[in-house]
């Protein structure tokens, strides 16, 4: 029944990205955070033709149920962002730190599409300051201890995080299947 996936290919750049796709909230907001990182291949080379999408709860842990993912209008938080990687494989998002939803530690759901990926990879970005909550997070408990760090962003500064996504290789990011 299910329609099979195919690669996003190299030419999505004029079709999928849109104005403000990276900026879920304006940078002047006091609760704004910035997440940036690179998408890398199995040789450690940047992937310059990937598309990164995020989906997350708002700062209070509520899952947004209102539009605003395509047209960033004022103060509404839509929870969705989309950023194509640049020549160095880099992407970034301006957003808020999600509050916890249910039992688990706060996280941002991350999807990566790319030329050479016949279907997307799905992962989670957790925050480094939530170490205590990570200890009881049901998903992290299922990830082999030595690979857990691939799901936790690094703090780069006040309200700034780094999250590199390794599609393959020694530091391959943990990807989820459902």
């Amino acid at each position: 029944m299910t329609t099979p996936s195919q690669t996003v290919g190299p030419f999505f750049g004029y079709g999928l990205p849109y104005e403000g796709g990276s900026e879920l909230v304006p940078g002047w907001r006091p609760d704004a955070i910035r997440v940036r990182g690179r998408v890398l291949d199995g040789a450690g080379e940047p992937v310059p033709d990937a598309l990164v999408e995020i989906w997350q709860a708002d700062g209070s842990g509520e899952i947004p149920r209102r539009p605003g993912g395509l047209v960033r209008a004022g103060h509404d938080f839509s929870g969705f962002g989309r950023c194509p990687t640049d020549a160095a494989g880099g992407y970034w998002f301006g957003t808020v730190k999600p509050g916890p939803v249910g039992e688990g530690a706060p996280y941002i759901a991350v999807l990566v599409f790319a030329r050479g990926l016949l279907k997307p990879v799905f992962t989670r970005l957790y925050f480094p300051e939530d170490g205590a909550a990570h200890g009881t997070d049901p998903l992290l408990a299922e990830v082999p201890a030595e690979r857990r760090a691939t799901l936790i962003a690094e703090r780069e500064g006040e309200r700034e995080y780094r999250f590199d996504i390794h599609l393959q290789g020694e530091r391959e990011t943990v990807f989820l299947g459902f």
Partner: protein, 223 residues
């Protein structure tokens, strides 16, 4: 049920070799959680009125065969998915994308960009007016050509249902030679990516019509 999707690693498509994850995916015992089981909401106010008509985005008409592509977005149980965002992008009639990285020496069409989007209606139906894209060469192997296709991106009701795929046209002679199409393991699954010519969708004196339904993976909650 057999997985209809291609494997990550499909060496005939060379770019998969260094990009396919090599480790086993982690399959959470509890499945996706409430964030992953929801999806962004998109509204009509975020789309332009002509976003689903790729032939009317410029001052003149694009060159090529005008077509209508329509169908329904359905969930695994066959129920329509209303208000689903469907995005498309494609080459022009000559097989050329207006993208800097596209080096194919075929003409650009000043009246055709080739990107569109729409929201499905209450019946889960989307509809685009466009022109039939041309086949184009790529550098995967000697004399490599992609069968004519339209790229589709679809949101379901869960972020885990997110689908990006390509729609092909019936009877394309390039199917057996295309490692992307052939990356799908079973022929019956490949055929789900081929639209169907439909006389009832065809508009007299104006455009040929094609039907293509998109079935999203089961909402994991129901599995």
């Amino acid at each position: 049920m057999t997985d209809p999707h291609p494997p990550y690693l499909s060496p005939g498509y060379r770019s998969t070799v260094l990009r396919a994850p090599a480790r086993e995916l982690v399959m959470p015992k509890l499945g996706p959680d409430s964030v992953e089981l929801t999806s962004p909401v998109f509204g009509h106010q975020e789309l332009g009125r002509l976003d689903n008509d790729l032939t009317r985005q410029h001052s003149g008409e694009p060159i090529g065969e005008r077509i209508i592509v329509t169908g329904r977005v359905l969930d695994g149980a066959g129920r329509p998915v209303p208000d689903a965002l469907v995005e498309v992008w494609q080459a022009n009639a000559a097989g050329r994308y207006p993208h800097l990285a596209d080096q194919h020496p075929a003409p650009l069409d000043p009246n055709f960009t080739g990107a569109g989007r729409c929201l499905t209606d209450a019946d889960g139906r989307y509809r685009f007016v466009t022109i039939k894209p041309g086949a184009y060469p790529w550098r995967n192997h000697h004399n490599a050509w992609r069968p004519a296709h339209i790229h589709f991106s679809v949101f379901g009701t869960a972020f885990t249902q997110r689908l990006v795929t390509q729609m092909y046209f019936p009877g394309d002679p390039l199917f057996p030679f295309d490692p992307i199409f052939q990356s799908i393991p079973r022929q019956e699954d490949r055929e789900k990516l081929i639209c169907r010519f439909d006389m009832d969708t065809t508009v007299p004196e104006w455009a040929l019509g094609h039907q293509w339904d998109i079935v999203l993976g089961d909402t994991p909650m129901e599995a």
